[in-house]
């Protein structure tokens, strides 16, 4: 997006999310029905009040073609709804909904996404995402690719194992107060983390995100509608996403140009950032992202524990947005950055800047 200020004011007015190691009491449809109901009820709207609905999920993750068709049940799509679906993280569904609201014909949107990686081997599933001729047939897993990236950073003295451990510690301690954090600890120590054995060289277990099942629902509203639904809406001041080349050997893996560009276009540098929720699958990726976003010690990063604490493929990005939004809605913060990523080694990135009034 070019001139941020010329856009219609759109805000997150309601969020609901849930993550757990293994979803067993309910299936994805029931989970989403529950989250979507909570999300709508908390601002007193029904599906008939919603102008546009957009969701994100993956057939490959679910092991079923057209899996999102079943999940439409959770919305209650009768009478029929104006609706679309992206085979992407829910953060990109939110982007599509934001675009729809910009046209000005509808004032509210429901966004949701979910994933149940516990049903299969997510790291094998993710290998099918890679170049189908040269890379996918070698079945590299996403953490191995992220390890290649981490070693480049370490070899070039751009990060240290100590810095990585600090990121892991931050995640585990911050996650302690978050019921959705699967891996968290009140009293984990720096030494514990430094002494952890290497699992995917040079990464230790805590440097790698904890894979979790879950989902997230968000309601967006424009202008006065947002003000009428929510005392303190979390206004989207800027939102942008960009993609880098897929070919790892071509990229400078110590950087994420698309993350930098998305943040710049979303207006990250216009004002201070109180808090940030960033989406990486390793501690090293969080360090790359902090640098690309220009964050400093004044910004509280991943108060939820972040995706290291609970990583739900297809929902982690939308959950980052909901975490920032809920802290603005509850007046704990004024301005925050939320980030979503997709593809190997931070290939595709979305940045959303949210602000309270």
């Amino acid at each position: 997006m070019s001139e941020v200020n010329s856009f219609r004011d759109v805000a997150v007015v309601s969020v609901a999310s849930y993550q757990t190691k293994t979803l067993s009491e309910v299936n994805e449809v029931q989970l989403m029905a529950d989250l979507i109901s909570k999300c709508r009820n908390s601002v007193g709207v029904t599906q008939e009040d919603i102008g546009f609905t957009c969701s994100g999920s993956s057939d490959f993750l679910a092991g079923q073609a057209f899996s999102f068709v079943h999940t439409l049940d959770s919305v209650g799509a009768f009478p029929p709804i104006s609706e679309s679906h992206v085979e992407m993280d829910g953060a990109f569904a939110l982007y599509e909904a934001w675009v729809k609201l910009q046209i000005g014909e509808v004032d509210t949107a429901l966004v949701y996404s979910y994933g149940k990686p516990s049903a299969g081997s997510v790291i094998d599933v993710l290998a099918t995402q890679l170049d189908p001729y040269y890379v996918s047939p070698l079945w590299p897993d996403c953490f191995s690719l992220a390890a290649l990236q981490a070693r480049l950073l370490l070899d070039n003295d751009l990060i240290t194992l100590e810095k990585m451990a600090e990121v892991s510690m931050r995640s585990q301690k911050n996650g302690f107060d978050n019921p959705n954090a699967v891996r968290s600890s009140e009293d984990v120590s720096f030494d514990d983390l430094m002494n952890e054995p290497v699992t995917v060289d040079p990464l230790r277990a805590s440097d790698i995100s904890e894979i979790a099942d879950g989902g997230c629902a968000v309601i967006l509203a424009a202008g006065d509608k947002a003000r009428s639904l929510c005392e303190r809406p979390a206004w989207i001041k800027g939102i942008d996403h960009r993609v880098d080349s897929h070919t790892l050997g071509v990229r400078d893996l110590t950087r994420s140009p698309s993350a930098f560009l998305a943040a710049e276009k979303a207006g990250v540098s216009d004002d201070r950032i109180d808090l940030a929720e960033i989406h990486g699958i390793t501690s090293a990726q969080e360090l790359i992202l902090e640098k690309e976003f220009g964050l400093n010690e004044k910004t509280l990063v991943n108060l939820s524990g972040g995706s290291l604490a609970s990583d739900t493929m297809m929902a982690s990005g939308l959950i980052r947005i909901s975490e920032v939004a809920s802290r603005i809605i509850s007046d704990e913060a004024d301005r925050g950055l939320a980030h979503a990523t997709s593809g190997p080694c931070l290939q595709q990135n979305l940045v959303c800047i949210l602000e309270g009034e």
């Binding site: 309910v26 299936n27 029931q30 029905a33 049940d73 209650g76 599933v125 099918t128």
Partner: protein
């Protein structure tokens, strides 16, 4: 309209194949098999539904909104997006809401004689249909509204699966009128 046989200008430059391989039979395709294994764990209401089959019972789910009964249970009412937790036991009799005569083999179902009839079975007490095989009569006797009942496997072969019902056979009862068969029944009761 552009000519599909001439490449777009940008793609018309020929690829220079290195001399060392230019005279050889080129590789044109690669094989890359994919095998992914998932744990299929039915949701709790479906678990209950499948278990009830071993007792030759069919469970439905009743919507808290208007009492509509869904089979198999979906855990939610798809019209309203609300959770359902009330189970109801349904009859193993119903009618054919609609059907298809298929002349193609189905992967993994070598046991089916071709052509076979699959039908949307609307159980007595349910408000939507579910798919079942209709047999025990000539294919051309099957019609919308035909009354059918389940033919179950032998007691000692029963498991926790919908496959306990071998097929649905005609009961010989008078047919349900077409305008009240299948989904149309609901519109009717709501009039």
């Amino acid at each position: 309209m552009t000519d599909p046989n001439s490449l777009p200008a940008a793609l018309s430059e020929k690829v220079e194949i290195p001399e060392s391989i230019s005279g050889l039979e080129p590789v044109r395709s690669v094989r890359s098999p994919i095998r992914l294994v998932y744990d299929f764990v039915p949701s709790p209401p479906v678990q209950q539904y499948l278990r009830s089959y071993s007792k030759k019972k069919i469970l439905g789910h009743r919507s808290p909104v208007d009492g509509a009964v869904f089979v198999p249970p979906r855990g939610v009412d798809p019209r309203h997006g609300v959770l359902i937790d009330e189970s109801v036991e349904l009859s193993d009799r119903g009618h054919v809401g609609n059907f298809c005569v298929t002349h193609l083999p189905i992967p993994g179902r070598d046991d089916l004689d071709i052509p076979y009839v699959s039908a949307w079975i609307h159980l007595d007490g349910a408000n939507v249909g579910f798919l079942g095989l209709v047999a025990g009569c000539e294919n051309d006797e099957v019609h919308i509204g035909m009354r059918v009942q389940a033919v179950w496997k032998e007691e000692d072969e029963l498991g926790n699966t919908a496959e306990n019902i071998l097929y649905w056979k005609p009961t010989g009862e008078p047919s349900v009128p077409v305008e009240k068969a299948g989904n149309r029944a609901w519109e009717h009761t709501n009039e």
